[in-house]
Amino acid sequence: MPSNDQTDATRDELIQLITPNGERRSNAAYDPWVADVDGAALQALYEDMVVIRRIDAEATALQRQGELALWPPLLGQEAAQIGSGRALREDDFVFSSYRENGVAYCRGVDLTDLLRVWRGNASSGWDPYAINMATPQVIIGAQTLHATGYAMGILTDGADSVAVTYFGDGATSQGDVNEAMVFAASYQAPVIFFCQNNQWAISEPVRLQAHVPIARRAPGFGIPSVRVDGNDVLACLAVTREALDRARTGGGPTFIEAVTYRMGPHTTADDPTRYRDANELEDWAAKDPIARLAGLLDSEGLLPAEVSDAVKATADEVAARLREGCISMPEPAALDVFKHVYSEPNSWLERQQDHYEQYLTSFGSSEEGGR
């Protein structure tokens, strides 16, 4: 367990249970947390990762084909998202950023809901209470405070669920993320800060945001932290389970730095060749999270052709459903712009809506969709 009495050198240690070559590495502290993960469970994690990578590829294709306006790929971060996402209980609540499509998948999101925002059909994709996950947050870092406040509510309710917030390496520079740690520590709120350090914030390398490893930040707020190989799904599962357990049993917040890599562009609008080296990408490709688990499965005879074919088929089927959901999404109606600004009537807005309806009527088109 991470502690405030460690030196930074111990804090910097990267928890790893599967090596890049796919070998199982033992770790006395964390092995117990995944003792129940048998072959079938490993296969399931493998399938999850393959599926979300397939979702990512399909969405990227949909963007290239003009069906989506934008897409933020998670390519390379599958282990961090599946390992942590699969550790959660249904009554835990996730507050994420925009790149956590893999986590949303773990929460059981409807596939079409993943795309609504990026197709421009909605400001957010789903009802947060339906899957206990807030919709993606665009304002960097803001969601970490929401998670902390939610966790304060869990405490007051006397419940044992946990709020989990996801954010990037860049986000650690924001005041909000640091204030969230102040509040979380002060109230000992059951919240997990899950930082996916994917080395880049758009074009800015992590060293611009953090002069020392990010995992060192939290202990200064009185929050234990752990640094995990973010491309190792088993290690991510283990550290998240440990943190969840601590939170459920009154131990307060934990900070997890998952060291990973954004293998794709920041979004489909970005061109990473402008600011980073091809070599770097190659280095990280050698640590690929899916290849690594495949290696382990293979060495244990858990990835025969019928299994990998079935996984591929599942992924293809998911991708087909995703595409279908995308292109058959109903167009919003013009007057939807006025809906849900308030929960109660608002005279200013009613007047504007009224006038705009009259305006549309003057064209004979009040029920028309986007122009």
Binding site: S124, A151, S343
Partner: protein, 338 residues
């Protein structure tokens, strides 16, 4: 009916809201043991416990952001911002989260947050303690904004604000905290709406629109003017977003003249919206352009000169004279030398 100070009336309203709904929690700096720097939450932590009345770390964005999280969890947080000038670190959370979350989620997530802001000047304080930032929020779609001017409204409207499923900024005129008034605590909350403006005094010559701290000043102006035979109708807006333009319009159709007064800077202040909207709605009834009597376009000044910045009875009456086309400070030859 009991007589209580403005501050005490808010306290009583908070207490009532907390009694009625266990999901109401108060958050802010120094609001617990100290009862807030203005003592508005006096005794509430003692009676409801530290889980219902939270002293928070010194970070306004943190307070607002965690309040949003509590709202996600089904709570109705009431946040105290210690002074008007300290709301800006929370601006991002207010504008991007509090105001937009309901719209963003197509109504799935409600943010029934109340943000209490002691505001306005006249208390002799240094910088950042006397501001009137309401126009930033009235321009922010998704928020409701109210301001109260007397103990009865303070008592009722704090409860209505808390009961509202929309986020509400509740502006308290801090220089009136010690003013006493009658409060009927048995009033039925649903018998009035915080969205409605109130005609404070009826009149036929000029409509004088204001809110919060300047309502008593406006009423005094009406009394003073009546000695000169001028009949002023004073309207207390109460709700600043949305504004009950129906009530103002009705009055201006009668008087044909409109004066607006507020402490905030003139340019882009609420007076501009009121002047523009009323001109749109009753252009042909107006006999003079709406007149604004406001603070200047300056940062809030140091206290020895703050009463130049703040509209007072004389400046309001000068504005009334302007609206009526009577001799006023802007008429030619106004001065002694003139």
């Amino acid at each position: 009916m009991s007589t209580m100070t403005f501050g005490r009336a808010i306290n009583a309203g908070l207490r009532r809201a907390m009694d009625n709904d266990p999901k109401v929690v108060l958050m802010g700096e120094d609001i617990g043991k100290l009862g807030g720097v203005f003592r508005i939450t006096d005794g509430l932590q003692k009676d409801f416990g530290p889980h219902r009345v939270l002293d928070t770390p010194l970070a306004e964005s943190g307070i607002m952001g965690t309040a949003v999280g509590l709202a996600y969890r089904g709570y109705r947080p009431v946040v105290e911002i210690q002074f008007d000038g300290f709301i800006y670190p929370a601006f991002d959370q207010i504008v991007c989260q509090v105001a937009k979350l309901h719209y963003r989620t197509k109504g799935a997530v409600k943010v029934p947050l109340t943000i209490r802001v002691p505001f306005g000047g006249g208390i002799g304080s240094p910088e950042h303690h006397s501001e009137s930032p309401e126009a930033y929020f009235t321009h922010t779609s998704g928020l409701r904004v109210v301001s109260v001017s007397n103990p009865q409204d303070a008592y009722v409207m704090i409860q209505q604000a808390i009961a509202s499923d929309d986020p509400v900024l509740y502006f308290e005129p801090k220089r009136r905290y010690h003013v006493k008034g009658e409060v009927d605590e048995s009033v039925d909350l649903s018998s009035t709406s915080m969205n409605d403006a109130r005609v404070v005094t009826e009149g036929s010559d000029v409509t004088l629109v204001t809110y919060g701290p300047l309502v008593p000043t406006a009423r005094d102006a009406a009394i003073a003017a009546s000695d000169d035979g001028i009949s002023i109708e004073v309207i207390d807006l109460r709700s600043l977003a949305p504004i009950d333009f129906g009530t103002v319009e009705k009055s201006v159709r009668k008087t044909g003249r409109l004066v607006i007064t507020h402490e905030a800077a003139q340019s882009g202040g609420l007076g501009a919206e009121i002047a523009a909207s009323i001109t749109e709605r009753c252009f042909y009834h107006l006999e003079h352009a709406p007149v604004r009597v406001t603070g200047f376009d300056i940062p809030y000044p140091y206290s020895k000169v703050e009463f130049h910045h703040l509209p007072d009875l004389d400046r309001i009456l000068d504005g009334v004279d302007r609206a009526l086309g009577r001799p006023n400070s802007l008429s030619p030859h106004n001065g002694l030398e003139g």
